[in-house]
């Protein structure tokens, strides 16, 4: 190593980044009733408690359902918008981009509150999941848009013209040329949309109805009053779920994710 001080410094920062995550995973195997150090032996009892806890299991199902809905909707809308942005926006290009990134640029807490009042103002309230799903679509849309438009940047219009001159119709050209090109971007964007939606807090917190808490909300509520390692077990399962999604898509689909 050429610069030992810099390397050491970076290693310390990486340790800092990983520390709280590793601590949560470690705490989940604590056999004691409380989060004590050193742990009172190793055990999987808190995982068993968690899997028998209906409240948490229902929260996981809600989270997965909302994330799936948000991913499908914002994946479709975001991809269409990215196609428009790259190919047809013309002089509106910058305006389209800023509008699509707006949910990312506005403070999430304000968006969440504004949405809450709005769903009450139009009379749907939080008895349906419409508000919650709309909120998740909003905050995941920029990520789909960023990923798909990034994958379209490399698109050369002459390929499309070449196919056209060879007699391919619109549908064929879309299916055989456009789709394979944007596929990695669409899947990468959808993957990020899923993870963001699965982990997001503020939007779900403001727009949750009775019995429609997502996993982060349920965990947060639990943490305000309880100190057992069950929360650590819940967190670890949540982390593992995310990791599985990421690793599977990386290995199977060979993805590159553009977060920025």
């Amino acid at each position: 190593m050429k610069r030992p001080v810099l390397t050491l410094y970076c290693l310390l920062v990486y340790a800092f980044l990983l520390a709280p995550i590793l601590v949560v995973v470690g705490a989940s195997f604590n056999a004691g009733n409380f989060l004590t150090f050193p742990p009172q032996g190793l055990s999987l009892r808190w995982y068993v408690t968690f899997f028998h806890n209906d409240v948490f299991m229902r929260a996981i199902r809600t989270s997965l359902w909302v994330a799936a809905m948000a991913t499908v909707i914002s994946g479709t809308i975001g991809t269409m918008a990215a196609l428009y942005y790259v190919q047809h926006a013309g002089r509106w290009k910058e305006a389209v981009r800023i509008a699509m990134l707006a949910p990312l640029l506005l403070p999430e807490v304000l968006t969440a509150i504004a949405l809450l009042f709005f769903v009450y103002a139009v009379g749907i309230g939080t008895t349906t999941m419409i508000g919650m799903v709309a909120g998740h679509v909003l905050i995941t849309l920029p990520f789909v848009f960023i990923n798909v438009s990034a994958s379209l940047e490399s698109f050369d219009p002459s390929w499309d013209m070449a196919a056209r001159s060879l007699g391919a119709d619109r549908l064929t050209r879309f299916r055989r040329i456009m789709l394979p090109l944007i596929k990695p971007g669409v899947i990468g964007g959808a993957l990020f949309a899923f993870i963001i939606s699965f982990d997001t807090f503020t939007i779900s917190f403001m727009l949750k109805g009775i019995g429609t808490s997502t996993l982060p909300i349920q965990l947060f509520d639990y943490l305000r009053t309880n100190f057992t390692p069950e929360a650590a077990a819940v967190s670890t399962v949540s982390i593992v779920l995310t990791l599985v999604v990421v690793i599977v898509s990386e290995k199977v689909l060979g993805l590159r994710i553009h977060r920025f």
């Binding site: 190593m1 810099l6 390397t7 410094y9 970076c10 920062v13 990486y14 800092f16 980044l17 520390a19 709280p20 995550i21 601590v23 989060l35 150090f37 269409m80 918008a81 196609l83 428009y84 047809h88 981009r97 509008a99 699509m100 990134l101 707006a102 949910p103 403070p107 999430e108 807490v109 304000l110 968006t111 509150i113 504004a114 949405l115 809450l116 009042f117 709005f118 709309a134 909120g135 679509v137 909003l138 990034a150 982990d199 807090f201 503020t202 917190f205 403001m206 982060p216 965990l219 947060f220 943490l223 305000r224 650590a232 967190s235 982390i239 995310t242 990791l243 990421v246 977060r259 920025f260």
Partner: protein
Amino acid sequence: MTATRRKGFGPLILIAPAAVLLGVFLVLPYLNIVVMSFRMPGQGTPYGPGFTTGNYTKFFADSFYLLQVANTLWIGLITTALCLVVGFPVAWQLARGNMRFRALAYGLVLSPLLVGIVIRSYGWTILLGNNGLINRTLTGMGLIDRPLPLMYNALGIVIALVHVFLPFMILPIMAAIQGVDPSLESAARSLGASRFTAFRRIVLPLCTPGIQAGCILVFVLSLSAYVTPSLIGGLRVKTMAVTVVDALIDTFQWPWGSALALMLSVTGALCVVIFARLTRMKWKVART
């Protein structure tokens, strides 16, 4: 004829769903919340009939809320500064260092983003609590008698916020440094500039856009952070976002909560504009 028509209307179908979504679920709610902030407080209802500017005069008349905004801005400022100091060398090494484990290091920087904010804040409560890992280790080693006050104060909030938002500082700066041609630096060195001078006069100005983007991102995110201050600060230290959300969830004061939320956002936006002026920022939404 059909070709021109298709060019005229066809593509608009692509943008229509996004336009409708953003119009209905973003623009309308934001207009609505502005109107809401001028409504009368209700008696047993979220808001009453009629309009008033009372919510704003109440905000400016009460030093409690002004102090809290100042406190929130202060926490945001310290968090941003620390993220910059901690993150810059890492961004530098990721961009320039010829290390074998670059992919792994990059993954380490990204990994916190894949873990929910509740879980990460929870991890910090385990580390920083009075009976937490750090205090237990230190007392166990006989270094301290009483636990250090690491949690339920601004210090704990800042530590956790730096952790939560550090990737948002590192990634834009890394991208900016990658865009600076290393040969520019060599040229400066060969002309007799010291390493520090070459960095200060060549590299730093060129990667300023990345630093600005990172700073604004971290600052805005820390202002509207709710989970971390709420879990780490407890009831003792409240930031503005926590006060706003609690005002809405616990007491149902919609007009008052709206005014507070808008004042916080406007103050944050003002800070961003001042920061941009001071650092002579070229306005362009960070190219993604």
